[in-house]
Symmetry: C2
Subunit: 550 residues, 2 copies
Amino acid sequence: MAKGKLRIIPLGGLGEIGKNMTVFEMGNDALILDTGIMFPANDMHGVDYIIPELTYLLERKDLKIHGILYTHGHEDHIGAVDHVVKALPSGIPLYATPLTAGLLEYKLRDAGLRDTVVKTFKAGDMLQIGPFKIEAFHMTHSIPDCVGFAFDTPHGLIVHTGDYKFDNTPVDGRKPDYARLARYGEKGVKLLMADSTNSDQDGWTPSEAIIEPAFERVFKEAKGRIMVATFASLMSRIQQVANVSKKVGRKMVIYGHTMREYTKIAMRLGYLEIPESIVLDAGRISSVEPHKLVFMITGSQGEPSAVLSKLATGKQRNLEVQEGDTIILSSHPIPGNEEMVYRTINRLIERGANVIYDPLEDVHVSGHCRREEMRLMINLTQPQYILPVHGEARHLRQHGKLAVEAGVAANHVIISENGVVIDVDRNGVRKTNERISAGYVFVDGNGVGDIGRAVIHDREVLARDGFFLVAVSVDKNTGKLLKAPDIISRGFVYLREADDLLDSVRDTVQQVIENNRNGRRQEALEESLGRLLYNETRRRPMVFSIVNEI
Amino acid sequence: MAKGKLRIIPLGGLGEIGKNMTVFEMGNDALILDTGIMFPANDMHGVDYIIPELTYLLERKDLKIHGILYTHGHEDHIGAVDHVVKALPSGIPLYATPLTAGLLEYKLRDAGLRDTVVKTFKAGDMLQIGPFKIEAFHMTHSIPDCVGFAFDTPHGLIVHTGDYKFDNTPVDGRKPDYARLARYGEKGVKLLMADSTNSDQDGWTPSEAIIEPAFERVFKEAKGRIMVATFASLMSRIQQVANVSKKVGRKMVIYGHTMREYTKIAMRLGYLEIPESIVLDAGRISSVEPHKLVFMITGSQGEPSAVLSKLATGKQRNLEVQEGDTIILSSHPIPGNEEMVYRTINRLIERGANVIYDPLEDVHVSGHCRREEMRLMINLTQPQYILPVHGEARHLRQHGKLAVEAGVAANHVIISENGVVIDVDRNGVRKTNERISAGYVFVDGNGVGDIGRAVIHDREVLARDGFFLVAVSVDKNTGKLLKAPDIISRGFVYLREADDLLDSVRDTVQQVIENNRNGRRQEALEESLGRLLYNETRRRPMVFSIVNEI
């Protein structure tokens, strides 16, 4: 690695720093870490998902991007791979552990990007990507084959934890690589970039292991069918359902396209061990008694288009909730989704299901470390500097305070934001004044980036008060209305019951047209109507007018 | 009380049963319990608040409503009083404890309803309202002067807990009336109607008392100003802030109109004890050093129009967040508000504030009982029947299961819904097949009930994909376009960057007009344009057309 300074630029993450993507640079050489998607906030109306803005990378034509490196296979770390690969110069190789590589290849194939090279490595491997020398170390999270990275730079080691918790009894038996972390600490770590997701929670996140006994309790009590809803990529959860299904003698139906594909990949690569004998094709459900069935389904966040929500509203083809079904939500609502999740639960209950969710049983645990694990991470790696990542402002502050308590110098705690360039050189690590454009790109339908703040703002106004439009035809000689105005309005009031209001609108239109024979009629109409509608209803719909002179 | 059967009809509550309003009937005599408002769900776009549908009461002209009885002064129990009083026959008296009465009178005055009689009673009083004989008993919650009711009917006692938790160390020192509850139990309770809000939470809700030491810790560490955000009606919290302010020598500024008015009422009636010497007028802030100030503000749910959110976005007049301010959120997000609350916290932190919220400190506890308290309530009152109220379907089920474990016969647990009439007679308590219309009325601006499902649905569609409208003028003789179509669209795509799409739209319009010389032009245009826009963008805006023949 050249002797120049290293630049770190976190991108992506809706209000979180470096959650979905990070750029590492040495001179003109660059390396990308992760390419994930974000999920829209409730007021980002109509947005399907969000990808990090790539403007900076596209404008830095001088930059040689040597590779894209992946920590693990969750959507918020790999989901934007097709967008990124399409946007950047062709031929950049991807680097991932086998399971992550399998999921990446599936996504690339789906997007018609068959030429992209995905190179696999294993935890413990030393990678040389361009001038970057990186060691991968095994970490535990809620998907197998998860790694963090140690960047061996001329200015010292930079350790990036990726998403992690210290799970001493992980589902796949592969424990966190404490020894390697300790070795980094002994060698000396310049900078620790660490997961801050749960930094406002004391203690230690429970192991995934506590879930299996909870499943067993619920499975043994269930008299009818069982459905377990979780994320398609939560592989260890699928393994646990398989383990318990086998134990209690139930057949397992992997329901829904994505979950089936992901499961296939993980089974083929040896990351899921499900005996063929217990797997049942969805088409053969009727051949098995209800109390011998377990369904794995998606939609645990209440997403309207996923299986769980469709079951709740009776809209899932070929599958209906029955009295006596037991439905387990093996997940927590992501903030913003609570309302939809609880509504879904209530609807399932009203259809006769027994719905089990945390806190009723320990059917889910977070995949992210809590404060005690953060202390352990700092004590193992003994970093000179810390850059809390993967968290909102509130989480970064808490993580930073914890680091100081754990012995990191207060002026070595770097609380930063996406797009702010961080320099690492022989003088240390610091935030610079350089700030690159690091916003979000909304994906809606097949439009990528064609809706921005303006369109979202319009959607917000339309959502609140709707719109009101009048189209009038005016005689160009007399300046009088040729006929009654056409009125179109939606989301404002129920027009059929608003006769009085519509009469006032027609009067206003007539007056405005008569008083404004010389131009400005459109603006005058919109102003007057906006005022009238507000006075009558205290609402502010978007008001439009079309004036045709004939 | 006549010997006929008693009918109970729960109303209100967005997915919760009998949360905001309940009707009790004996023959033609009726009594109403509470008249609260609901807060809109995230997908009820533009709705300010929601009141229970009153159709049933308005249609039952034969019904003599003898009074409206109140449990306590929170918005979800009193907030719709003006709507209800205006809708029902005049002269119906309200019955409330003094603090609740004070808050009701303020609301009635505000709505110009000065003639309404509010009769006050005290916990322990026996009320005779028409043929209804009711005893009020003191309960603890998070506002003083909170009561439950025991209805003495010919078929036995009906005990309604109201909102409650068993707080053994309440802020005002007035403990729950265990003795009276136990006496009911000994006498024999036919039916218990009990708060189910936290029925999925084990243990016992902490006392309000734990908050004061937490405030004290935070107050002592704070170097600058302190701002405490909570609900305007959370009187005990305001008392606690006053207690600690006095102790540490800070002046207290009650900020915001509603909070000031509520505080005044509570002080006048003796429910808040704040020494005059520590209260500071908002106009005199500059006369006191920052580290001697505490502000009480509203907006702890992230409501965009309240003080806290305006501070977060820098839009509050005369008040700005400063580096070194400590801001306490003394509340939990109501499900659905999490995203806005956390966004607000992050913004405040980015403006330099130190933001304290649960779980960082014990600065809030729920006002509702948990499972252990529910068991105690059942063991004290020993009801023959239980009707879990104040909860969503998932809470009612849990409360019901708990009741069975506590000894209530499984077929005496009544899980019901709003609008379902429940009969109480000598044969017992049961759900009937009678179902009255018990929906919600949306209040938006000054419109009450003029937006219903159709308008909300339109707002949802507009929020997701916007609208697209073309207006065309056609020569009535040739059937040809007289000029290029007018196009108006919002919330769909950014039109200025959609030249290709607009060209396709113009081509389509021309084709459709030329191919449909004989009518159906409007429908044909909307169909063709909808298809074109979907094919090009995978979005489905509302499509409108106006065709003028000239």
